[in-house]
């Protein structure tokens, strides 16, 4: 074991310059990373030109949204950008129609405490699939994707329809395009990595397939896989006590995810929180905590 080493209490800042973004600064070392806060201080039309690169054209075109104008074929705006000056956060929404329920894309990215990049939110919904009210409880209160409250009846319907926890509609299946786009966007800004916290077991599994590794939680994912095997504690806890704990659920990513949403990790004294994943720009980590998985 090493003895002679120096541990840092916290990482260094990724972005090391103060002030605003201008031609003078951009003319310096092209490898120096730029924060979103610096971009957000630019004029609106420049911001729009820059953040356009976060939207995969192939996904927009599936819904007839022009990748440059962000308008639908009816010339109505279909994309909304919020990138306020003074803030290090960017929100992008896209809709298939004028109906706000037809949202098919939502992305929120932000500068983190070290001036690196975090993805706070990524939604890819198929607006043509049935909608489930898992995002509101029976009294109409937001469930915050099932993390604060649960709508058990709707969750059961969603599970039976093939959805994973936290989904309100079937997935659009475009995460590969999105992360390819985010990789390219962040490389342009000079960032070498970005981070996110997976909301569910199913989303962590998807992010593994998109090349993410774990900052925290790789061992937990290994433990979950191990304990779901026949004879394991999670497998034994699939006791049909609720609709989300049926005996065969260990066999699939979604089945495991619903059981975890139902609190089955209590059986191993664990909780689904504080997981954090990292994507190295241009690299594929090759993590596979559920080998040969069926979704």
């Amino acid at each position: 074991m090493f003895k002679y080493l120096r541990l840092k209490s916290q990482p260094d800042k990724v972005v090391t310059y103060p002030g605003s973004l201008g031609i003078d600064w951009l003319s310096r070392d092209s490898q120096l990373p730029i924060t979103l806060k610096h971009i957000n201080a630019l004029p609106e039309k420049i911001k729009r030109r820059i953040y356009r690169n976060l939207l995969p054209p192939d996904i927009l075109s599936r819904f007839g949204v022009h990748p440059i104008t962000w308008n639908g074929s009816d010339r109505e705006a279909r994309v909304r950008l919020r990138a306020e000056a003074g803030e290090g956060v960017v929100h992008l929404w896209a809709w298939a129609s004028n109906d706000p329920n037809d949202e098919f894309f939502r992305l929120e990215i932000a500068d983190n405490a070290y001036d690196g990049i975090d993805i706070h939110m990524l939604l890819l919904n198929d607006p043509n699939s049935p909608r489930f009210r898992t995002d509101y409880d029976e009294d109409g209160n937001p469930t915050l994707f099932g993390t604060a409250r649960r709508n058990l009846a709707e969750e059961e319907r969603a599970m039976e329809a093939g959805l994973a926890p936290a989904q309100i509609r079937g997935s659009l299946g475009g995460s590969k395009s999105v992360f390819k786009q985010v990789d390219a966007f962040l490389a342009t800004l000079g960032h070498q990595a970005y981070f996110l916290e997976p909301l569910t077991y199913a989303s962590a599994w998807v992010f593994e397939r998109r090349g993410f590794a774990y900052v925290r939680g790789h061992k937990l994912m290994d433990d979950i896989h191990s304990e779901f095997q026949p004879g394991g504690r999670l497998n034994r806890a699939l006791d049909d006590s609720t609709p989300f704990r049926q005996a065969e659920q260990w066999r699939s990513v979604r089945g495991r995810a619903w059981a975890i949403q139902d609190g089955i990790l209590d059986a191993i004294g664990a909780r689904w929180d504080h997981l954090r994943m990292v994507k190295q720009v241009g690299r594929y980590a090759g993590v596979e905590t559920f080998p040969g998985a069926t979704y």
């Binding site: 074991m1 840092k8 990724v14 900052v215 925290r216 937990l220 690299r283």
Partner: protein, 157 residues
Amino acid sequence: MILLLNKQVYLLTTEAQLYYKHQITRAAEFESLSVLRDFVKEACQQYEEISEDTVYDLQLAVDEACTNVITHGYAGMNPGSIILMLELFSEKVVVTITDFGHPFEPSEPPAPDMEAKIEDRPIGGLGLYFIYQTMDKILYETNEDGNHLVFIKKVEA
């Protein structure tokens, strides 16, 4: 020319020098150490240019470095990943160990007193000393995309 075969990348340069890249990612837990050691051995054994002694040194260096990541790098947190990458050139092996835990910086340790009785020797300190003794070059950098410890070992047939 680049060929993709069984997750390995083969890059044939214009000088006709083969370059092979092998990568594995595992959780930073002690159970992973034997997997990582075996990975080094299996990767290197495909190339007859690499001697058994070199393979052994690389295995021990990887074992020591990864033990350190497991023990210190991810201390106090649910362990994340260790990414082990081997790049094999015609004249050297480059090993890169990446983690996302607490950054650290190894400094060259003083030589341990190998003559002292085992019970008189301080605990720890041999791992890094061993790596400095057996590897030809050691690099460490920590940045946005993780902590990277790099060993370079010249190939001795």
